[in-house]
């Protein structure tokens, strides 16, 4: 039982890792918390669903459609909304992203309604190993996320784009002086972040039914994971996501599962009270 919950928690944590990473990257480069992360995840799930069931594409192809759709949405929102607000305080950007979140979620609702949907994938029998039940979806999720994390790591650490992103995150004016084009970096960040969230949407759609609220269910855990890792720290976000995932699943041992959703809220409340810098980073969070 405990081992099973641990396994489930690990997979839930991996699923949270992609959007938490996305949240933290936007915070690092553009200096605001993107409230629309949940709604973008919803958009990704629906884009993949349309590609999968309406256009008859395979799931990997649908996932590519989802990643592209959300990446484009990210770039367009940056152009239309966030770029125009770039000189405001971070809370204006946060509120604007709340507005964006309403727009995205309700565009999905407008065209596809409130009904629950699911992908057309063959139902497969869970594998059993040492008394553990391991679903096919869990394996897919774990593998996809691990590949993405390795790719993002390579991109951030060993590519000119990654170096430029880290430079802008670290010190925007110095980066500008050295000839790093902030506009271009912002767009590329949105593209990367959108692709990550879109993929997470597909994985979420495998795990549960797709409805307009699917992203909202992950909203607090995603924020909790990114805050736990110290906003702006990519490694921290992934570690935070794993901890939140484990905490959520393991909480079933002590509290009713109805309250699972507030586990992550409690975790960050306690964390912020006692260690306000997150686990790994040292950014000031107190006024």
């Amino acid at each position: 039982m405990v081992a099973q919950l641990f396994l489930n928690g690990l997979v839930t944590g991996l699923l949270l890792a992609l959007p938490a990473l996305a949240l933290t990257l936007v915070f690092g480069v553009l200096k605001f918390a993107n409230f629309a992360v949940g709604a973008m995840l919803t958009l990704g799930a629906y884009a993949a669903w349309v590609a999968n069931t309406q256009l008859g594409l395979s799931l990997p192809a649908s996932a590519a459609v989802a990643a592209t759709t959300v990446a484009l949405t990210g770039i367009v929102s940056d152009q239309l909304v966030f770029e125009r607000l770039k000189n405001r305080d971070s809370i204006s950007l946060l509120v604007a992203s709340m507005g964006l979140s309403l727009v995205l979620e309700n565009v999905c609702r407008f065209f596809l309604g409130n009904a629950s949907r699911s992908f057309e994938v063959p139902i497969s029998r869970p594998m059993r190993w040492e008394g553990l039940r391991i679903n096919q979806e869990q394996i897919t999720t774990a593998l996809t996320v691990c590949v993405c994390l390795v790719l993002v790591h390579l991109l951030l650490r060993h590519s000119p784009l990654g170096r430029a992103m880290r430079a802008v995150a670290d010190n925007p004016s110095l980066a500008a002086t050295r000839g790093v084009d902030r506009r271009l970096i912002a767009r590329l960040t949105w593209a990367l972040v959108g692709a990550l969230i879109g993929l997470a949407g597909v994985l979420a759609g495998l795990d549960r039914s797709i409805d307009p609220q699917i992203g909202w269910n992950y909203q607090i855990p995603i924020f909790a994971a990114a805050i736990l890792g110290g906003l702006g720290s990519p490694v921290g976000a992934v570690a935070g996501a794993l901890i939140i995932g484990l905490a959520e699943e393991m909480s079933a041992l002590v509290i009713p599962t109805n309250y699972r959703q507030i586990v992550s809220f409690t975790v960050i409340l306690v964390l912020l009270l006692f260690r306000s810098n997150g686990l790994l980073s040292a950014k000031a969070v107190r006024k």
């Binding site: 971070s90 509120v95 727009v103 309700n106 809220f265 912020l272």
Partner: protein, 306 residues
């Protein structure tokens, strides 16, 4: 047509009340609160649960007090945090309230909600044209809250809050008790949200958890941004008209047959999102900007006097 207008009027009054509360917390004191709906829900449930035994007026007072107490408690825990963190803590609070209401069926009747809530002045309602009485009552509550908040805004309390919002460090250096003032602002805002919840419970005479979704919070933010952060008059004028327009579209479904009810509500919510973004970009100071005295005015006067 008249019942439509009355419904719109009351929904706008409730939204304006919530907007005024958020305007104190966020507009005046600079404390972002994404858990607005949680406090409204607490007010509504407190009223619905206690009104039958202690009467409508004590129940409303209790709703305001309970919401204020929880608000102060949350503020004590988290108000020192930087904005982005305060934002997520308050979202989490809103969700926690929703889950508690949904799952503690012994108290709140869970997803089924509480029905048959008695309205205040029910006797009068029979005699004078039905719901009009309730509109007057709701307007009265709104007026009391508005006068109180406007008084506080002009008082040293409001000035200190604005100073803290603009620069907490300088205010602290000038001897303002920054932390205590922030907690008080948050608590007073919470009380007004509780009252809004009470009105909602009385008007609908039925409450369930689905009424208290994050949309309520978005409405409040839209109202504050539209009105102009920190300006109570702006909130009533600007927000009132925009809310009336948005609420008005609720009834379009009787006249439009091309799109169904779900699509219409989706369209309305998307419009709120677009509205928030457009107002932030095009008119960040709101429709009625906060009144500010320029340093030169004050200085010129003191020079004349001297």
């Amino acid at each position: 047509m008249i019942p439509y207008l009355i419904t719109i009027a009351i929904l706008v009054i409730i939204a304006a009340l919530i907007g005024l509360a958020l305007n104190l917390q966020w507009g005046l004191a600079g404390l972002v609160n994404f858990g607005v709906v949680g406090f409204v829900a607490i007010g509504a449930y407190t009223t619905a649960l206690t009104a039958p035994s202690i009467g409508w007026f004590p129940a409303m007072v209790l709703a305001a007090l309970v919401a204020a107490a929880l608000s102060a408690g949350l503020a004590l825990l988290s108000i020192r945090l930087e904005e982005n963190y305060l934002a997520i803590i308050t979202i989490g609070f809103g969700e926690a309230v929703r889950l508690a209401i949904l799952n503690e069926g012994w108290l709140t009747n869970g997803a089924l909600g509480i029905a048959n809530i008695q309205r205040p002045l029910a006797g009068l309602t029979e005699r004078f044209g039905g719901d009009i009485v309730f509109v007057v009552f709701a307007l009265g509550v709104l007026a009391v809250v508005f006068v109180a908040l406007e008084g506080w805004t002009r008082a040293p309390f409001g000035r200190a809050l604005r100073a803290i919002r603009d620069d907490a460090t300088i205010s602290a250096a000038l001897g303002k008790p920054v932390f205590a003032l922030r907690v008080r602002a948050f608590a007073i805002g919470g009380a007004a949200m509780g009252l809004a919840g009470a009105l909602q419970a009385f008007y609908l005479t039925y409450i369930d958890p689905s009424q208290f979704s994050a949309i309520v919070t978005s409405y409040a933010f839209m109202a504050v941004i539209a009105g102009g952060r920190g300006s109570n008059v702006g909130l009533l004028v600007g927000a009132g008209s925009i809310m009336a327009l948005l609420e008005g579209t609720r009834f379009l479904k009787d006249f439009i047959s091309v799109i169904d009810g779900v699509q219409l509500s989706a369209l309305r919510l998307a419009l709120i999102g677009v509205g928030i973004i457009l107002l932030l970009i095009l008119r960040p100071q709101g429709l009625v900007p906060e009144a500010r005295r320029k340093a030169a005015d004050v200085l010129a006067k003191s020079r004349e006097a001297a």
